[in-house]
Symmetry: C2
Subunit: 447 residues, 2 copies
């Protein structure tokens, strides 16, 4: 990557409006770094610098910008500049851009596109959000199975300039029915008179355009391929999804899961770009909702107020027991949620996972119970030690089971298991943990 | 993917030891699915079925197996079978396998390798664990800058059969100094008499073999490329890292971060494969350590026992205040940790991030404080309402700031920011939250 010094030098040149020097300086920079430079500039300078980029470079730089910045730039460009930019974007990058714009802006942009591109974009936009259909590109090269390698190469040379990727070549039947894919590598390495048919391995999986884009992530990770064909129900080849786009999706999905796992509704784009209002709005509803759950804990405490007043030492152990309960539940839930989202576990594995966690929970319960009993002896007599040790064991078993089961229940209800966030699990653990604690303590201390 | 019925059919055939039929049935299955079938079979049957696979297919299937299963299979194979298998594995897959085996097994396997492969493997193994050096493959094709496209194609046809990937061709100087990379696509699409030199864009980044493998993930995500060259300090091309391996790394790293984020030390491989003992051992130390932190909370309660006994209503609000504190801190920490690990935030952004979060924290504090004051009026008078509202506001501001700052501090100390897990943040929030609460409550109620 460019040295920070180079970046600062460029910013200083822009500051002084030395446009010619900036242009020279950044002419050999990779596109993502020019995008970074634009990000750091004040809006007025951005548009000027962007106009100074060579046309083909401008399109690439544009596709590396964050959606919000793309949006700002577009408002500064003339209609002609916008048309050129939008037309040159690869169809899937274009879909990505249009998804993030308000409806009227999309309509305006669609009107600027030449009819053929418009058709492609409309087709891609027709599929549900977060579907494979939105990710695919129709710009691939297809060959016939009965062609020879030399015929195929001729076709690839003719059509390849316009394609987004030719690293995988698709083989179709007469009615565009998908047969198999063959890598450009194997075509290049084969004898020129070999038939394409003889290069096929016939073991390639295809996706439906309606499948969730996470399916594309899982398929590409599982089969280690650079692109996946997308076919409709009659096996007609609609487009292909390339690994670089899937890679970005995988990262976005993991980030969304991290955020959900901390009870934050997923941010629209990056943290860096998020406005104060967005950060507030994605967090506040969960904090407020969880107050509702915490209020249940408070109610349990109010119900057992007499018990607490008789034995105030019980308050001492509350943070210990509730803290451990929440931590145990978070551990179990996070392990299961992540395993479910990478495909390591599936819904049908619920018995296996619960069986495993019941065993682990039992062992953890015994160890944590013993540790707590020592603290009980220290603060009181063996009655108290027994009460807190049994409570600890009960709470660990229960919260561990809850953390394991809840994600499966969510998947079964067709919800995202990531909703079983650490804060939610912790809050629910508190309520149930208090009940377990007070019931056991009352039975042993007052019974 | 294969229909579950097909999988069950195959398992039934194995059960009945109808080996010929099984072999027919799975002959066209993709390798990852054969690997899945092996996973589901009892050990004795696994080795038999594995031996029935065609040799080239066996190697691919092997590379898709989980490390533990690879290990089991190896012990069942003869020396000759092992030699063939290990030799046919791509160097980076082989490194991956050898990393997961005990030291003596590695030595035994290394002795089975032909000298040339041994050299490659040793070279890859010499780099630190989780480094780019371990991921790279030396099996690429390099061309000279002054060659024509037709010379290059001839060279690619000659050397390409043995290379792991030829989708990107590397251009080097006389002393193997790295110049640039050029895609096979652009070579195929160019005129045969074009010079390679004229196809270069000269904007490719390279990595050091000593860099952390997360660097490879970030580079490939950022630049949308299929492979990255690895060069030493004198710019000599050592090998290349391909996107499919980086993809697997990215998923593993995200899973590790999820686990750390829930105070679980990263599992060695998948959850599915993890033994009961491993699950216990990765969780127990954290639970025990956090008991230490929770004990501080208990101590704070013990110190303020008199206050609690005078105003037992204060206990009622404890779950509410501490719960919200933990949740707020987890939200902030998770947002910052994930942004740091994807490169969305960098260490130098700390001022920007803290500034943003101070603002968000203030707004959250006001809203949560107001909500809590209503509950205070309901349970008591305006004194109580004021005390709990101010405590809530103070706790939200503090935990939010702590969740934001701690990850940066960890990075600054060269530690993994993911250590700022939800359970750790929650436990520390409890201690500090109690102190804030009791100080404010005493000042207002008894002051």
């Amino acid at each position: 990557m460019q040295h920070e010094a180079a970046m600062e030098h460029a910013e200083a040149l822009v500051q002084d409006e030395k446009w010619y020097e900036v242009r020279q300086l950044i002419s050999e920079w990779p596109e993502p770094e020019i995008a970074d430079l634009l990000f750091d500039l004040p809006p007025a300078h951005r548009a000027i610098l962007f106009r100074l980029l060579p046309h083909d470079k401008a399109t690439d730089v544009f596709s590396f910008l964050e959606p919000e910045l793309q949006n700002h730039l577009l408002t500064d460009l003339t209609e002609e500049e916008t048309r050129r930019l939008i037309t040159n974007l690869a169809p899937d990058d274009r879909t990505h851009l249009l998804e993030d714009l308000p409806g009227e802006a999309v309509q305006k942009l669609l009107n600027l596109l030449p009819p053929e591109d418009l058709w492609k974009t409309r087709q891609l936009l027709g599929y549900p959000e977060e579907s494979v259909g939105r990710l695919m590109t129709p710009d691939y090269v297809a060959v016939r199975r009965h062609w020879t390698v030399s015929e195929a190469l001729k076709h690839i040379r003719a059509k390849g300039q316009k394609a987004e990727t030719i690293s995988t070549i698709y083989v179709v039947e007469n009615r565009w029915q998908f047969v198999d894919a063959v890598s450009l590598e194997s075509i290049v390495l084969a004898q020129l008179d070999t038939h394409i048919e003889d290069l096929l391995a016939r073991d390639l999986v295809a996706l439906s355009p309606l499948a969730d884009r996470e399916e594309a992530v899982r398929t590409i990770t599982r089969y280690d391929v650079f692109s996946i064909p997308v076919v409709d129900s009659r096996n007609v080849l609609l487009g292909v999804v390339t690994a670089d786009d899937v890679f970005d999706v995988a990262e976005e999905e993991a980030t969304e899961d991290f955020q959900k796992g901390a009870a934050v509704n997923p941010l629209k784009s990056s943290y860096r770009e998020a406005s104060l209002w967005e950060l507030f709005a994605k967090r506040f509803p969960w904090l407020l909702a969880l107050i509702g759950v915490n209020l249940l804990s408070s109610t349990v405490i109010a119900v057992y107020e007499d018990l607490l007043q008789t034995a105030i030492a019980l308050t001492f152990f509350m943070p210990l027991l509730l803290g451990t309960g929440g931590n145990t539940g978070s551990q179990a839930a996070t392990l299961v949620v992540r395993a479910l989202s990478t495909g390591d576990l599936e819904l049908s594995d619920w018995m296996r996972a619960i069986g495993k966690e019941v065993m682990v929970g039992l062992v953890l319960a015994v160890c944590m119970g013993l540790a707590t009993s020592l603290l009980g002896f220290w603060r009181g007599d063996w009655h108290l030690a027994l009460a807190v040790a049994l409570s600890m064991a009960g709470i660990v078993i229960w919260t561990n089971l809850m953390g394991t089961v809840l994600p499966f229940v969510l998947v079964r209800m067709k919800l995202d298991p990531a909703v079983a966030s650490s804060p939610l699990i912790t809050s629910v653990s508190d309520v149930t943990g208090l009940i377990i604690y007070f019931l056991i303590a009352r039975a042993i201390l007052l019974g």
